[in-house]
Symmetry: C2
Subunit: 385 residues, 2 copies
């Protein structure tokens, strides 16, 4: 198996891009990544997206984006695993390069949610849950997370205010990320008095929708000498695991089994442990998911995720800095693009390009992207020499 490196990265700002279509957004991120890599041709275009078929009336995103980006004739496909579609496409790209089937692969994560009216997008997001056993009963995606958070608070004795620092940290870091959706600090007071969405999740526990695209170029490490010199960011682990799609079918709905499995396998592949991770871009779609992801990946004891935030360990300079570019909460969560934003951001950190939110001396970074309510979880570890 060939070792794989990230040669280039690109992204668009996340906002309501009323003036740009899905293909324009994807094309901008793709061309930025190609330019960063210093190349103009690729063998494959792998696209992560969740909802374009319904929200944008467009499927076939592989050929669609390859064509638009001037990469006609390339191998191209579209990968979907709900909210983890971005890193699922990345992982498929890693396998294509590792196998030797393709040499240069462009991975693009893209989602354009603004085109879909509010009630429709809620129904479209609910297709990440079980259509027969969850969505059919009217439970939305937020409601599923609210049920998990309520039970977690009851079981481990946390109050709503104890989750505040997850969102405050994300907003603080996004101040310095020009691609982030929000550039406003969040105070505890604002967090506490935010409008309720589905108790106990209020507006400041939930990540915002948005339109955006992020991209990366993958090549075999053994070919790096053929390309313009760049910091050598290697993909040292790529893992995925699933759990039941319906939350109610799980033995313990407060434990992300798939996150634990994919993280354990990732640590084994990379030959590292949680203590070796310098920066961790986790999936803070809701504050409860930050806590559960930290626990499942071995950074906190079961039920103790919020403690890490309360002790200041998730900030830049803390034991395990998370959401260093704003996370889903403040950078924004264009669903199928999110995994690629996480990867782009970790590469920025490992290259020392993260500006005011640079984690000093970061050498090993991890991303974890959660599809559904923990049903398809994908973990990557990157290392710079």
């Amino acid at each position: 198996m060939r070792e794989v490196a990230v040669l280039g990265i690109g992204q668009t700002p996340i906002e309501e891009h009323w003036e740009k279509s899905l293909r324009v957004l994807a094309g901008e991120a793709a061309l930025a990544a190609l330019q960063d890599a210093g190349i103009s041709r690729v063998d494959g275009v792998f696209v992560g997206n969740m909802m374009a078929g319904s929200a944008n009336h467009q499927q076939q995103l592989g050929a669609y984006i390859a064509d638009w980006a001037g990469l006609r004739y390339a191998n191209a496909l579209h990968v979907e695993t709900a909210c983890s579609s971005g890193s699922a496409a990345f992982r498929a790209g890693v396998m294509a390069v590792a196998s030797g089937v393709l040499d240069v692969v462009l991975v693009v994560g893209v989602e354009k949610m603004s085109d879909s009216p509010g009630d429709e997008i809620t129904a479209e997001l609910a297709t990440a849950a079980d259509a027969d056993w969850e969505s059919a009963y009217g439970v939305s995606f937020v409601a599923l997370n609210a049920l998990i958070m309520r039970r977690y608070m009851h079981e481990y004795g946390w109050q709503h205010e104890h989750f505040a620092l997850f969102s405050i940290n994300s907003h603080q870091n996004a101040l310095h990320n020009p691609y982030a959706r929000f550039h406003s600090p969040l105070s505890l007071q604002e967090y506490l008095k935010a409008p309720m969405v589905t108790p106990p999740i209020n507006l400041m526990d939930a990540s915002p929708m948005g339109d955006g695209a992020a991209a990366a170029v993958l090549v075999p490490v053994e070919h790096l000498h053929r390309f313009p010199p760049k910091p050598k960011v290697r993909v040292v682990a790529s893992t995925a695991a699933t759990d039941t799609i319906a939350v109610a079918s799980r033995r313990d709905p407060l434990w992300l089994s798939a996150a634990e499995r994919s993280a354990r396998q990732a640590y084994a592949q990379a030959g590292v442990g949680p203590n070796d991770i310098d920066v961790f871009e986790l999936h803070d779609a809701f504050t409860i998911m930050s806590a559960l992801s930290l626990e499942a990946c071995g950074f906190a004891e079961r039920g103790q995720g919020p403690r890490l935030a309360l002790e200041g360990e998730i900030q830049i300079g803390g034991r395990i800095p998370i959401c260093t570019r704003g996370g889903l909460k403040a950078r924004g969560h264009p669903v199928g693009a999110t995994g690629m934003y996480q990867i782009v951001e970790v590469v920025q950190q490992l290259r020392g390009e993260a500006g005011e939110t640079q984690v000093e001396g970061a050498k090993i970074g991890m991303t974890q992207n959660i599809g559904g309510s923990g049903s398809n979880i994908i973990t990557h570890i990157f290392r710079v020499d």
Copy 2:
């Protein structure tokens, strides 16, 4: 790169399965393939599907089907390339096994179209075309193919009746396939007087929709000794290529560039040429596509595809038997499942399990699956020892 073999196959009949949900259909094909392979565990579940997000209100088909089929925790993802989604998922599975990332991969192609009302499914099928430059102007997917067929007839001097034998051959072969949607022979008279859909495409030029699922189990050839003995069907070529998504952007709309590219690469990978192919499952979504696919793959001169049919060369016993189990026209075309049906059928031929439509002594078989109006084309070649 590890060589990959097909260890097991499974399929459901294609019909309007009102009493079975998407997951039940996929599960039946998956379990049939596992049983045929003689195994009960896999490392990965790769799902090909085009329209479940809109037609069945369900995304996340990887985790969804893994969970239902008793394969919880497996790596799982959903691949989409419109009508070639099935073989795109298969190709992703081949890369996963070839790379050494996964050892045993189940690939399932599934589509359940009956749940979507007629007008909606037409719009959903049109998401395979260009939303901005084709569908937005009201051109349906059939209409795009009709434009191509009309021009082809004008350019090369063919009449509508010259395409009849493609459909007649498919219906004849489907008589002996218990999984096919239709079991009725088609006469030239019936073909000629069939109701018009979009001139010059009539109902007997077009493949029918349907619900169905087909599946295969992939393992590395070097592990075959660990499993119950089976005819050794190796994947000797797996290639893909794209073209512009909008037909009007092509230099020559009557030439499937992506089919030519992927076929050429496939011949090179397998070390064979068109004359070595014993059986060819091509993508007869419309009769015109049969002609174009035969030409692009080197079985006929440019503009001469219909001649092969008129000379009887596409039948069992002819020079290049196609659609030997009924093809899209008579076996049925559950869009995202079709590529996997083609693969399952070629494996049946190479194992000598094709009953009354067995191609005697078939050793090398090819499948070609077309996504969109020729915009994403995937070719596989299989060989039995």
